[in-house]
């Protein structure tokens, strides 16, 4: 019942905030985001699951109820958490609460609608990570788009309509492609499955029960079907991640989105893509993933290097962070394709780490923007002398992004590198890994350069007002994030242990590479 309580408390909170006068909405929304946060932390503390939810593991907080019958397929209400989804649920609740705080300053109209949508988003996100039935999952997956579309389209910057529509249409078309791919698989399984439950489908696919789509005479043979479905789902999820060359909606959406929406977009929404890749492509179709290992790894490496180069070229601080997300998510793909515990586990760890760090950077850029009303690096100089606390946090966050040891990002990258290096699935793994690792130099380059130009040097900013100290509700969330990032960097086993436990079954598949 815990997951239901989580989702319902979010949705109920959203409903209450919708009907609250704007004046009270911010504080009320913050208060209403605490119960889900506490519940998710309780879920973390009391977690008693083991193994992978799709592969016969012990599912925690599981609920199962019959929902409806769709032809030969039973569609059930089936939710539960394992070591992969629980950290992401906690990430969602933590980031939502913090982003609500960070919204107090910049959001000054239609507050009740804004905060209501944020809470609605939170509920949908938790649903995505908890659902274990495909159709139920798909409902949540699509439901996430609506609040985010509105958050960008209503409270965004000058080109908000363009960005919101681009975001919505791009990701929605991708969902369609993915949906077709997945249903082709279900039909290909024929009588082997009788429901749209993800565990049953995963077991059947891994057991090689995929048959012809259609009949053996006029139909798609299983091998072709599996590869085609893998590609369709990969493309569908790759847009969400996003992976080069499907990434161009991301910078536009980030630049136009208000800070709290950016935080949730980069922090959690992108993880939906990688989470789904792990749950669907890499758990259900390992053989196809191994077949396509080289092109996927190549895409990952290109995302890393190319994304970092793009970040280097940007003049808008928010665009820098946005493009760097493309780069960071490349590490996740590289870890997944490695098929090692360190690789897949590191990829999952990177999802959480990147969620925290990119959230931190977006929030900090937002705090600077609140004070200076500009995000262009060329317009700022010497901010550190006027806003020391914020600048310190930004420096900490930037070094976290660069992979400074004892911070979560370093651990995540190291896991991915170890996992990718020792991969037996990926040919020439050390070469791919070594090229990907060069990303850590470029990321240091653009962040240090951006900091040098915006934070340091003599203070120069054309304003007709004093830059005041940032208020406590601006500083508190970013400091909290720094603490979390360092905590995960010093004690990665806080979540890495359960992640490893849940990924073990994924990589154990015949070729189940190395250690």
């Amino acid at each position: 019942m815990l997951i239901e309580a989580l989702v319902v408390s979010c949705l109920l909170g959203a409903a209450i905030v919708f009907f609250t006068p704007d004046r009270y909405a911010p504080k009320l929304a913050f208060g209403l985001s605490v119960p889900p946060l506490v519940l998710s932390l309780y879920a973390y503390v009391a977690f008693d699951g083991s193994g992978n939810a799709l592969l016969g593991g012990e599912i925690a907080y599981e609920t199962f109820a019959e929902w409806l019958q769709l032809g030969p397929y039973a569609v059930n209400y089936h939710v539960g958490l394992d070591g992969i989804s629980l950290p992401l649920v906690v990430l969602s609740t933590v980031l939502t609460t913090l982003s609500i705080l960070s919204a107090w300053t910049p959001i000054d109209d239609r507050q009740s609608e804004f905060y209501g949508l944020v809470l609605l988003l939170e509920g949908s996100l938790i649903g995505v990570f908890a659902a274990l039935d495909f159709l139920l999952w798909f409902v949540f997956w699509e439901a996430v788009l609506i609040p985010m579309y509105l958050l960008i389209g209503v409270w965004g910057g000058p080109r908000r309509k363009y960005a919101a529509i681009k975001f919505f249409v791009y990701t929605n078309i991708a969902s369609l492609v993915m949906f077709v791919g997945f249903f082709a698989l279900i039909f290909g399984l024929g009588d082997a499955v009788s429901s749209t439950g993800m565990p049953a489908i995963a077991e059947a696919l891994r057991a090689g029960q995929l048959g012809y789509l259609g009949t053996p005479t006029v139909g798609v043979p299983p091998d072709t079907l599996a590869i085609a479905a893998f590609l369709a789902m990969f493309v569908g999820f790759a847009v969400k991640v996003p992976v080069v060359p499907f990434h161009t909606w991301l910078p536009d959406a980030h630049v136009e989105a208000p800070t709290p929406a950016s935080v949730l977009l980069a922090g959690v929404l992108l993880k939906m893509g990688t989470y789904a890749l792990l749950r669907f492509n890499f758990t259900m179709l390992p053989e196809q993933a191994a077949t396509l290992a080289v092109p996927i790894a190549a895409i990952a490496v290109i995302s890393i290097i190319y994304g970092a180069l793009l970040a280097l070229a940007q003049q808008d601080l928010k665009r820098v962070v946005a493009y760097s997300s493309v780069s960071s998510m490349g590490y996740v793909i590289l870890g997944l394709v490695a098929y090692t515990v360190y690789g897949v586990g590191g990829a999952t760890f990177q999802m959480v780490a990147h969620g925290l760090i990119s959230g931190l950077l977006f929030m900090t850029v937002g705090v600077f923007y609140n004070a200076t009303h500009t995000r262009m690096i060329g317009d700022m100089s010497g901010l550190a002398s006027k806003m020391p606390a914020t600048a310190t946090v930004f420096v900490a966050g930037a070094f976290g992004y660069m992979g400074l040891p004892l911070m979560a990002g370093f651990m995540a990258e190291l896991f991915v590198f170890i996992g990718a290096f020792e991969s037996t699935v990926l040919p020439a793994a050390p070469v791919f890994t070594a090229i990907a690792m060069f990303g850590i130099v470029i990321v240091a380059g653009y962040l240090l350069w951006a900091m040098q130009r915006s934070l340091f040097g003599p203070f120069e900013l054309e304003t007709d007002y004093e830059l005041g100290r940032a208020p406590v509700h601006d500083i508190a969330p970013i400091v909290t994030l720094v603490v979390l990032i360092v905590a995960l960097g010093v004690a990665p086993d806080l979540i890495f242990e359960m992640i490893r436990d849940a990924t073990l079954d994924v990589v154990e598949f015949g070729f189940g590479g190395g250690s």
């Binding site: 161009t248 360190y342 550190a384 400074l404 190291l414 850590i440 040098q452 086993d493 190395g514």
Partner: protein
């Protein structure tokens, strides 16, 4: 386990605590956090000395995992551990001593001068010290990398301390980026070692050097990714070496170090003498059991070291700022240490690391004292005649300079002589390639003597060449105390290991040698074990070992004196001429550091930034252009097709009827009605 080893982690945690205190409460603390820093480093120094003493008395070493980050049931564990053996115990004392003195000196350099941002400064110093100490006691390569990087972070923070000016943030960025470039290779190496051996431990039969040894002997096999065993190990060794070259400012990664002079002078002392730059060389010494297996890599290390020693020395000759001369001398001296390590002179390298830590810290603090006196003027041509006004500074600085120049009997002479001696002996023993490295090293001795004495002459001798030089600012006890301690040590530290005396008299005075050989065999990190691994033979000229020693000592002392004498002759007198300008185009070349900065800046700005801009254009034009093209094609197609919707109901009805008729015709044809 001895009680002292229970307390070893406190050596790291004391400075770490001073970091946290200064960062959060520094504003309200006495001397803005300086007192906490001094107490913490004094505590660390005390504990280090006790540790060293215990090790000397009992011979008991310590190697234990202290904290496990990732406890993998399968695959590699990632853990922090403490390894206290002869090497690390001695290094702990050096680092904490220098850190302590730098903290004291900072009272005079930063607090008394009323600098801003002191809590930040002391927080940085504390973290710097803590990271370096943790790096020194690391028992595995992963932990070493972690703190190696943190050392880099601290150097960034401290070099960029005066961030409201333009130059320091730029220099800090450069320092971090250049070392990061080296660390990239290091990280690939760490991952490679972890994956290859399943462990990154330095010591014992479970450590990776021991595993590598048995793999090379063919007793065990490891995954070598398609290369030969030695080939793959050499690749790993070279990858780790990338980090070493970056941090120890060896060619071609040396360019960050002279720029790093933008930081406060005590920080320069800390960086150059005991922390950041020393970290690279220390790492090679730490995993020498691995490098000793790989003759090719050793040869490369020796050559890079010898070349850097000479290369940096030539640039130091023409510099005009006192700190610039010292910066290039640091690069040059670390080149000697690399030369020694590469040439199989493990003890010599550590000996030179020790003496250099002392005299370079002394020289930087002395330069800091001069800079205080000169009201932050660093150009030596604005100085002159300071010796009468600044007695303590002059005497101690002179002691440090003579040590640096390698003049008998100052400490630098003994260690540099041993470095060159080891190189020569091993070159004669069948490794003729080392002659090249030796030749570069011995040439650099002459230049070292020249630029060191030139610096002393310009700074302290002659007539004052500016108004500030006539009436320098006085300095307090907190400046003179560290200088005096280091000054005495710079004179006597050679007594640690005066090998020539032992050879000539037979007296057992090579204390450091015996000390490093005393490491228990089980750890496999002792000098004795390393010498058994070494593939270098020994040779001699001029009638045996003593003859070789005398030839080498004579040569190095003679060249040092010649260089020093030349400088003394040229820059003597009230107002010396700018002799180096007579070098003409060579001088221009040297002043521009062989255009090393130019090409590296070109790589960063000319090449990478332009590549990034091109990528951005491509991204906006081609990739996003495609996305936008898809949407505009659908929109324009829609705009045309919607013309059908005229709004006139009659048209719709006509369309319905026509479509129906068309369908009927189609069905009729398909159904065969015609």
């Amino acid at each position: 386990m001895a009680l002292i080893y229970e307390l070893t982690p406190a050596i790291v945690f004391l400075p770490l605590a001073s970091f946290a205190l200064a960062l959060f409460f520094g504003r309200w603390m006495p001397k803005k956090g300086a007192v906490a820093g001094i107490l913490a480093t004094a505590g660390a120094l005390g504990l280090s000395v006790v540790t060293l003493g215990w090790l000397l008395l009992s011979g008991e070493v310590h190697d234990q995992t202290w904290y496990t980050l990732v406890d993998a049931e399968m695959g590699v564990d990632l853990a922090f551990g403490i390894l206290i053996d002869q090497l690390s115990a001695a290094m702990l004392v050096i680092v904490s001593l220098i850190a302590f003195l730098v903290h004291v000196f900072s009272l005079g350099y930063m607090n008394d001068e009323g600098e801003p941002g002191l809590p930040r400064y002391y927080a940085g110093l504390g973290l710097f010290t803590a990271s370096m100490l943790a790096f020194v006691m690391a028992d595995n390569l992963f932990m070493a990398f972690v703190f190696f990087e943190l050392v880099g972070l601290c150097s960034y923070l401290l070099i960029g301390h005066w961030f409201t000016e333009d130059a320091p943030p730029s220099a800090a960025k450069k320092a971090f980026l250049v070392t990061r470039f080296g660390d990239y290779f290091f990280l690939v190496g760490v991952v490679g070692v972890l994956v290859t051996f399943g462990t990154a431990g330095f010591a014992g039969s479970e450590g990776f050097p021991a595993l590598a040894e048995s793999a090379l002997a063919g007793e065990t096999s490891v995954n070598t990714f398609g290369l030969s065993t030695e080939g793959w190990f050499s690749v790993l060794g070279l990858l780790v070496l990338g980090g070493v070259l970056g941090k120890s400012a060896q060619f071609p990664f040396h360019t960050w170090l002279p720029d790093a002079m933008e930081g406060p002078t005590p920080v320069s002392a800390l960086i150059h003498a005991a922390t950041m730059v020393a970290a690279g060389v220390y790492l090679v010494a730490r995993m020498y059991g691995f490098y000793a297996l790989l003759p090719t890599v050793l040869g490369i290390i020796a050559f890079v070291g010898g070349f850097t020693a000479l290369f940096a020395a030539t640039m130091a000759v023409v510099k005009n700022e006192i700190k610039q001369v010292l910066a290039y001398s640091t690069i040059s001296q670390y080149g000697y240490m690399m030369l020694a390590l590469g040439a199989g002179g493990y003890v010599a390298a550590f000996f030179h690391l020790t003496t250099h830590a002392i005299f370079k810290a002394l020289l930087f603090l002395g330069a800091g004292s001069v800079i205080i006196a000169m009201h932050h003027e660093e150009d030596m041509w604005e100085m002159g005649g300071l010796k009468s006004e600044m007695r303590t500074t002059y005497l101690t600085f002179l002691a440090g300079s003579l040590a640096l120049a390698g003049i008998f009997p100052f400490s630098g002479f003994w260690s540099k002589d041993e470095v060159l001696f080891e190189t020569l002996v091993h070159a004669l023993g069948g490794s003729p390639l080392l002659f090249g490295a030796y030749a570069m090293g011995i040439t650099a001795v002459f230049l070292t003597g020249f630029y060191t004495i030139r610096m002393v002459m310009l700074t302290f001798h002659g007539d004052p060449r500016s108004e500030t030089a006539e009436d320098p600012h006085s300095v307090g006890w907190n400046v003179k105390f560290p200088l005096s301690v280091l000054g005495v040590l710079a004179v006597v530290a050679g007594a640690l290991n005066p090998v020539p005396i032992e050879m000539l008299t037979g007296a057992e005075v090579d204390f450091l040698h015996d000390y490093l050989y005393a490491t228990p065999e089980a750890l496999l990190t002792g000098a004795e074990h390393y010498s058994s691994l070494s593939s270098y033979g020994s040779g001699a000229i001029a009638g045996g070992e003593i003859g070789t020693m005398l030839v080498n000592a004579g040569l190095s002392f003679g060249l040092a004196v010649a260089g020093a004498g030349l400088a003394f002759g040229l820059y003597r007198g009230g107002s010396p001429a700018r002799h180096t300008e007579r070098l003409g185009r060579v001088q221009t070349l040297l002043m521009h550091n062989y255009y090393q900065d130019e090409y590296q800046v070109w790589l960063a700005e000319g090449f990478t930034v332009r590549l990034a801009a091109a990528a951005d254009t491509f991204d906006q034009g081609v990739i996003d252009g495609t996305v936008n093209a898809v949407s505009s094609v659908s929109r324009s197609a829609g705009a045309r097709i919607r013309q059908i919707q005229s709004g006139v109901v009659t048209n719709y009805a006509a369309l319905v009827v026509l479509s129906l008729l068309a369908l009927l015709v189609v069905f009729a044809i398909l159904g065969g009605w015609f």
